[in-house]
């Protein structure tokens, strides 16, 4: 008896971690191939660039991971991010409020949009795909309305750009100067996300709802409330991404944002999050986000045209999911 359960458990560990190794191994192979192909690739400057490129998409992907594990989808994160950036600028520049108030406004905007998504799904019974598609259009439009079709620059609040683009790590260890604060924000956010997903009630219900909603309901869990909370959390991460991108670009670009949601979903999926719900991890999503950024960067370093980079990303996405399916089926 003991032998069978023990054997089963080792097998269990294998099939679960296999997936993460897959994405991680893929990332390593990618780095090796590119560094062999171009001496420039492994420079600290370029590595810093990859991390920088990962950060915004990574923060978005963290939130999306929750929604997908929960069994839903959020198509609005890209434009919610933009709207949050615009609201930050509106509060900080147009209304002349302090930097911290502006940041809070951005976060709040994201959380609010997420909550509305959640209420549309739980109370109005609109499928997540449609509800968040609606939110995509709404926030896209609102961004343009509030910003009056023009970018808002943060020239009146020069500290704000420092928030993202200076390097706290670099001031301590000069060698780490290419690692900008944006990257730090991403990794802190990831730690928080991993904590929420693994150690808190919200994380537990995120998995439970994605695994079997009806069983969770019959267990007496207030399904609507927690599902709304998951969407709110996703919105909050989108808000954070909005603040981060505004700081990084030193401006709120109201026309930006469309397409970001797809990159975020792609990062989560490459990282092993199952679109049918109940499965996924923050570590996987981090690796997924790094993978996408590394691929894009490496192809650029090699001089591959941008349009072909997109084709390659799509191919890799499909292959990653296929390989994941294939290995899982075999291990059953």
């Amino acid at each position: 008896m003991e032998a069978t359960t023990a054997a089963k458990r080792t097998f269990q560990i294998r099939s679960d971690t296999l997936q993460r190794f897959l994405a991680f191994g893929g990332l390593i192979i990618l780095i090796i191939v590119f560094s062999l192909a171009s001496p420039y690739f492994l420079t600290s400057e370029n590595m810093g660039g990859i991390l920088l490129a990962t950060a915004v998409n990574g923060v978005l992907a963290l939130g999306v991971t929750f929604v997908i594990i929960n069994g839903g989808i959020d198509l609005s994160v890209g434009t919610v991010m933009t709207f949050s950036a615009v609201m930050t600028a509106q509060v900080m520049i147009v209304w002349q409020q302090p930097v911290l108030v502006g940041i809070a406004a951005g976060l709040l905007t994201g959380a609010l949009c997420g909550t509305l998504n959640g209420l549309m799904v739980t109370k109005m019974k609109i499928p997540p795909f449609v509800a968040t598609l609606g939110m995509l259009y709404i926030t896209k439009g609102l961004s343009l309305v509030v910003a009056q079709l023009k970018p808002i620059y943060f020239n009146d609040a020069p500290i704000f750009n420092q928030v993202a683009m200076s390097s706290v790590l670099g001031s301590i260890v000069p060698a780490l100067d290419p690692v900008k604060n944006v990257v730090l924000v991403f990794f802190v956010a990831a730690l928080v996300a991993a904590f929420i997903l693994g150690k808190t009630v919200l994380g537990r219900y995120t998995f439970a709802l994605g695994s079997n909603t009806e069983a969770t309901r019959l267990s007496g869990v207030n399904v609507d409330r927690w599902q709304t909370a998951v969407f709110m959390l996703c919105g909050l991460f989108a808000g954070l991404a909005g603040v981060v991108i505004a700081s990084r670009l030193n401006s709120a670009q109201p026309a930006l944002g469309a397409g970001y949601e797809l990159d975020a979903i792609a990062a989560a999926v490459i990282g092993g999050t199952s679109l049918s719900g109940g499965e996924g991890s923050i570590l996987g999503t981090i690796i997924g986000a790094l993978f996408i950024a590394t691929l894009a960067n490496g192809l650029r370093v090699l001089g591959v045209q941008q349009e072909w980079q997109i084709v390659v990303t799509g191919t890799v996405l499909v292959l990653a999911v296929f390989l994941d399916r294939f290995l899982k089926q075999r291990s059953r």
Binding site: K8, T200, V201, A208, S211, G220
Partner: protein, 517 residues
């Protein structure tokens, strides 16, 4: 009145098209095991789901410990101390055993929102120790056998310290040792003053464990008797009433000896193990067995809906390759799913469209133009032949009753020139009146030379309809009976014949309390 835990009276509940409960009543005392019996569709589960807050009642009242209560949701029931273990497992497969048991009331540590994973596992271990079960609380539920999953459900209900524990067919998927184990736990609970409601089809089992038995039929209360005073025969006659005995079994004339379908050494993972059978022309072959025995899986495999690992299928004597449902249709095989709404019908389309759905090609004229008049004539013909009650051919199938929906599906397969029809639970969720119509239809089809496989979990249905009965258990065919020799007892015996099967495949997992392994 003091020693009554629950009183339900005058309970009414209707679902669209079905009057599920009418003036139903029930009473439960502390420290008793009260069995609730009745045929499928008698309303046992519905009544108990009302008590457990899953359904809200249309009328009637519930007294709990003498006070009238309204139970609006499962949580309210749990807070009163009423837990229910549902027939279909209600677990989150991606979560661990302990996480499943304590979902919604996880122990916290420090801050209120933080989970205490150690405490959760320790508490789960305590419950298992009390049940003398050897299950690791850290294992994910999807990696357990169905029997173990069932035990997790029971452990979950026990962990609520419930005063009322409702179990809906808890033994259906358990082995004999596991059933003994369960009964031991039930007796412990009874000694502690818990009121246990036990819904089951296995009457011998109820004799062993219950104190009183309440019988329901067609959503109505029939009687409550003391178990000791009631012989099984008496309970059965209360369950079935007069209706069944009135209609003598309508087994049609013996079919010819011509074999139209033969399946040899069919295997698929753990769910189908070396299945062999033959189907003759004009025959109704009953497939019996407990839920999860693999009958539906065999049907889906033969129909090409699921891939098989190995095995051969012969139609009319020649070997065929069936890799997809469209292959099966080409060879004249039709499958009528147990879940009509999900797999059998395009609910939002009308009767006419559904009837021709599987054979649309036949109605295409030159250049792919649809021959509408031919299509209409065919649909009209089947509505008439099958006596489908619909206001028009343009009625959306969603708005038809269950029995008429079933007929539309039959019409669909007949239009496709299907000669082999696989019916999976053909009368599930269908009113009693419509049932006999469906039976009639099946008999007619068989007489016209169609060959039918009928999967059914209702033994009277199997005995009434089949020429031959094949019984499955855990993916294997464990017995085959001609209708002359088939009885409920013999079928049940084959349906629970799993001991040796387990011994061969998994040496240990049935022996549960193996100490401190």
């Amino acid at each position: 009145m003091d020693d009554v835990l629950v009183v339900m009276e005058g309970i009414e509940k209707s679902f669209p098209g079905v009057h599920a409960l009418s003036q139903a009543k029930f009473e439960l005392r502390p420290g008793e095991v009260h069995a609730l019996v009745g045929e499928n569709g008698a309303g046992k589960s519905t009544l108990m789901k009302v008590l457990a807050g899953v359904y809200s009642k249309d009328a009637g009242r519930i007294l709990y410990k003498g006070k009238e209560v309204e139970i609006h949701n499962p949580r309210a029931a749990q807070q009163l101390g009423i837990s229910m273990i549902h027939q279909e497992l209600n677990l989150m497969p991606h979560l661990t055993v302990a996480q499943n048991m304590f979902i919604g009331r996880e122990p916290r540590q420090g801050l209120k929102f933080m989970l205490d994973e150690k405490a959760i596992n320790a508490q789960a271990e305590e419950v298992f120790a009390m049940m003398r079960l050897n299950i690791d609380p850290r294992v994910k539920v999807r990696d357990l056998t169905v029997a173990k999953q069932q035990m997790v459900e029971i452990a979950k209900a026990l962990s609520f310290n419930s005063e009322v524990l409702i179990m809906d067919e808890p033994t259906a998927a358990l082995t004999d040792t596991e059933i003994d184990e369960l009964f031991r736990i039930i007796r412990d609970l009874r000694a502690k003053g818990v009121g246990v409601v036990h819904i089951s089809h296995r009457l011998e089992e109820l004799k062993l464990i219950s104190d009183r038995i309440t019988v329901m039929r067609d959503g109505k209360y029939i009687d409550t008797v003391k178990t000791l005073d009631a012989p099984i025969d008496q309970i059965i006659s209360m369950m079935v009433g007069r209706t069944i005995f009135e209609s003598t079994p309508e087994v049609p004339e013996n079919p010819s000896e011509e074999v139209v379908l033969e399946v040899k050494h069919l295997n698929r993972g753990n769910v189908i193990k070396d299945v062999n059978f033959q189907l003759k022309k004009g025959e109704i072959l009953g497939f019996s067995g407990l839920v999860g025995a693999g009958r539906t899986e065999v049907a889906r495999a033969v129909f090409g809906a699921d891939p098989i690992d190995s095995g051969d299928i012969f139609v009319n004597g020649s070997k065929v390759h069936i890799g997809s449902p469209s292959d099966a249709v080409k060879h004249g095989i039709g499958y009528l799913s147990e879940d009509r709404k999900r797999y059998g019908l395009a609910l939002g389309m009308d009767v006419e469209e559904n009837v021709v759905l599987a054979s649309f090609k036949k109605f295409l004229g030159a250049f792919g133009r649809v021959n509408r008049s031919k299509l209409r004539a065919t649909a009209e013909q089947y509505v008439k032949v099958l006596a489908i009650k619909t206001p028009s051919l343009q009625q959306k199938v969603r708005n038809l009753s269950g029995g008429n929906q079933q007929k539309v599906i039959i019409g669909k397969w007949l239009t496709a020139d299907t000669n082999i029809l696989i019916f999976d639970e053909p009368t599930r969720g269908i009113d009693v009146g419509a049932k006999s119509e469906i039976y009639h239809l099946l008999n007619n089809l068989a007489q016209q030379g169609k060959s039918i496989i009928m999967i059914s979990s209702e033994l009277p249905e199997i005995l009434r309809m089949s020429h031959r009965v094949v019984v499955m258990c855990e993916g294997r065919i464990t017995g085959e009976l001609s209708i002359a020799e088939a009885t409920q007892e013999k079928i049940m015996q084959y349906a629970t014949q799993r001991g040796e099967v387990l011994l061969v495949d998994e040496p240990a997992p049935t022996s549960t309390p193996s100490g401190d392994a």
